[in-house]
């Protein structure tokens, strides 16, 4: 099995380069790249969007020499394959390049967003497990009851509502702009954070956390709850459970000591993707709550044609995903003695 995992780790290399090469090519080929965006900015400047206003215009044309300089700046004066080789060479030296938009190293841009993403990702991840696993078990035990029906209805209603729409609704209802002022209107913390006492800081952070976490989690409740419920029900129908009952073991002990333990195997395998939490985040939820996380960064980088940042995020996400997959398999093999990879 050790050999199997070594092989899996080695396979990361070609997979990684395959993914980055394809993405790099697509980014370079699609129309309207950073060069066009820059020309547009020089010409039009841009202003706050208005349905009645027009964009501001520059008073001068853009000479060809300026376009050539811009091409040089973005590296478009070289053929695509050369650009990819340059990018890879820098990558091998752990250099992700410089952001076109922020004019600073890509790594600095990305790492400034990690804390927010890890924070929301981790809390969402833990809370989902803490709520959904017990709920799924209880639903399995009470299968077909009124509680099961009502909780399933709620869980599926939640599943059908997009997290960002739910978040926007919550902000309107509880943000204090239109109705009740219960929670702050988005953001990660209050502006007065530095002046708050320790306990007030925790309270402030919790108040800023509640609604976004709820929006992050609302869709994932259904999957994990129903997965838990179904695996517990499956296990409750197994021979060893019947045997346990026939031996006179209490229901509580049979469910929690035997059925639940085996039901955890498929759920535990998802833990391998815990590593991907640094990239957790949905740009829509982050946009709605005005949170500067990875989701929003990824989205705005694409919109603003900040290709170095797009590639930087791709590098990190690809590596984390590939490693997360292997970790999942490792956890699977660890928790289920029947599993042996060869």
């Amino acid at each position: 099995m050790t050999f199997y995992f070594i092989r899996r780790f080695l396979l990361i290399i070609p997979t990684f380069f395959g993914i980055t090469l394809i993405t790099f090519l697509i980014l370079q080929i699609v129309p309207g790249g950073p060069l066009e965006m820059e020309i547009m900015k020089i010409r039009m400047g841009g202003q706050k969007g208005s349905e009645s206003g027009s964009n501001s215009g520059s008073t001068q044309n853009i000479p060809q020499s300026a376009i050539d300089e811009l091409k040089k700046f973005y590296g478009f004066d070289k053929p695509i394959h050369e650009r990819y080789i340059i990018w890879v060479t820098h990558l091998l030296k752990f250099d992700l390049g410089r952001s076109y938009v922020y004019s600073e190293p890509v790594w600095d841009v990305i790492k400034s967003r990690f804390p927010v993403s890890i924070y929301f990702g981790l809390i969402g991840f833990i809370l989902t497990y803490l709520v959904c696993v017990p709920l799924g078990v209880y639903k399995a035990v009470k299968n077909g009851s009124v509680f099961d029906f009502i909780s399933s209805s709620l869980v599926f209603i939640g599943y059908s509502i997009p997290g960002f729409a739910f978040g926007a609704l919550m902000l309107v209802l509880f943000g204090g702009g239109s109705f009740w002022s219960v929670f702050p209107l988005g953001g990660f913390r209050s502006d007065s954070w530095d002046d708050l006492s320790f306990s007030s800081k925790i309270w402030d952070q919790l108040r800023h956390t509640f609604l976004p976490v709820l929006a992050y989690m609302i869709g994932s409740f259904a999957t994990l709850t129903i997965l838990t419920k179904n695996t517990v029900i499956d296990n409750l129908g197994q021979d060893y459970i019947r045997t346990a009952f026939s031996k006179g073991i209490s229901e509580k002990r049979v469910i929690f000591g035997h059925a639940l333990r085996n039901s955890m195997i498929p759920i535990a395998t998802g833990l391998g993707h815990f590593i991907s939490l640094v990239l957790a985040g949905s740009f829509l939820i982050e946009k709605v709550f005005n949170i500067n996380g990875m989701g929003l960064l990824g989205y705005t980088s694409i919109v603003q044609r900040d290709y170095p940042v797009v590639m930087g995020i791709l590098v990190i996400s690809t590596l984390l995903l590939l490693i997360g997959n292997i970790l999942s398999d490792m956890i699977y093999a660890m928790v289920d003695p029947r599993i042996r990879f060869n």
């Binding site: 400047g45 208005s50 239109s178 705005t300």
Partner: protein, 663 residues
Amino acid sequence: MAGKRYTTKFSLVLSTFVVLALCSMILYSCGNDKPKSKTVDTKPISIKKFDTPPGADPSVSAEQGGNGFTGEGWTTYTKLIGYGDPKATKGGSISWSIPDFPATLRPIGKDENSYYTRMAQNMMYERLLQQDPVTEDYAPLLATHWKISDDKMKFTFRINPNARWADGKPVTADDYLATWKMMLDPELLTGGDEFYKENFEMPVKESMYIVSVKAKKLGWIYFDVAAGIKVLPAHYLQDDKGNMMKGKEFLEKYNYDPIPGSGPYYIKKEDVEKGRTIIMRRRSDYWAEKENWAVGMNNFDVFKTDVIQDDNLEFEKFKKGDIDVYSYNRASWWAEKSDFDDVKRGLVQKRKIFNQKPEGQSGLALNMRKEPFNDIKMREAVNKLIDFDKWNERLFFNAYKRINSFFGGTPYANPTNETFKYDLDGAIKLIEEAGFKDKNSEGYRTKNGKVLALELPFSNKSQERYLTILQEDFKKAGIKLDLKEVDGTTNFKIGNERNFTMIIANWGGQNPPSLDFNVVSKTADDPNSTNWPGYKSERVDELVKQYTVNFNKKERIPMVQEIDKILYNMYPYGYFWTAQYQRLSWQNKFGMPKWILAKGDDFYGGTDTPIFQIWWFDPAKAAAYDEAKKDNSKKIPTEETENKFWITEGKSDVLKLSDFYTK
């Protein structure tokens, strides 16, 4: 046993995660990382490092612009009163929000042309001369006096010996020269260097306070350019060895680390939180504080800009009072959402403010270089098929008017231009005259067996609502219109490369217009001009030639009006709509002059002064506001919603703003 072992392992993994989560919460709550935000300290700041005594350097003679300079033989203008109100008080703060973080705060170089950066430039850096907002006469700013040579090609400026940089060093001719030299560096990536090289000789330092600039060609715009450059401190444009910095180094060094300017505001590096907030602070030691143009201006100690990407969140935050100023960019929101409780109680004021911001051009750019729009009849037909009244009534709450000029909102617009109305029969007649007489089985018109089918790229989802109406109206006339959604940059690329039949274009206006770059025939073939439709006219070229060398504004106006008539009647666009006002709301704790906005721009400025330099924090109003916030039964008086100062009192060429104070 085995079962227990695996349960223990699972519990271990789970508890590790729980512990990690709790640790993460506590860590972030403890604020061990670098503080991201803080309560804004609203005291004005000083970053002065050098305490240069007031007045000129004693070594500079009066003839060289030093002490005792009389100004004889020079021009100046002493009557200028700025946009400020003498009643204004200093202090307090104001906040607003923008949807995207600016790509730089540098005054020059790559990305300098964003609306936020342009506004910040005007608040932090100063030019040699400014213009009277009412009469448009040139007036002192960094320069007290100026001279124009007899051949009108050499401009000489005398810099005010009292002018100081934020760090306390005097502003001198060297600063102007260094700024100019930096702008000639192609590494700034704006293309501006070509313009300066082509049109000017290198400025000459005549003394510490006198600098001259020579244009290579005759034209009234060159004085405007030379006087309008935002001057930067030479000592910040040098590298570690004291040499002039290269453009590339300049771009990187000052991207978000602003250079101290001579203007009334300053951005400290630590007040820039990338992607989230920028705070500008008033300088307590602004050199021109007591000049007449600065009276009542630059009142807020702190001007805060938050980045909020979501429209709904921005509006909710405004309603809650988290941001102070809100501009309604949609007619529907103004009509349906702007009268919430706090507006009715007077806590929030709303105004529709009319001013003289140039309207620009917006509409369907019709490619005149190829079929079918190489035929003027087809272009006229498109204009007759745009049922703007229907759009206006059904979608825009009758908030807008249809464009009927290339220079709308300015004196350069030709008042005799007719405005198009929807006319299906008229359009069909024109389409038939253009040769599309036959119809195919689907009802679409054909010419030589070719169907009259057009493709229209559009880049904004909100455009779909009126474009589908347009599609239906085109269909009634037998034109097949395919709508194709593309993103904004792609849309621009298609337009810029002239690779379209029709495309939506929006261009800002200018006052005065710089016609050399937009309307002369050669721009039709220049891929980087705004002449996307490709209009050409010998008469326009001739008028532009006269316009650029005519130094009398009154004589220039009829020339442009004639150009307007010629261009408008070529129908290069399917003309859309415009609005000559701003729909603005604010928390009722600010004082402001009766004109509310500057004459020639949006509330946030860019070419003209933003409200953040004109308004002030009114403690009495703020107290009433706070009281009413606590007590729902209280009301604050409101004023009339429409403000027409700039198109009634402010329109006159004779009146000065100073006259309005006493009215």
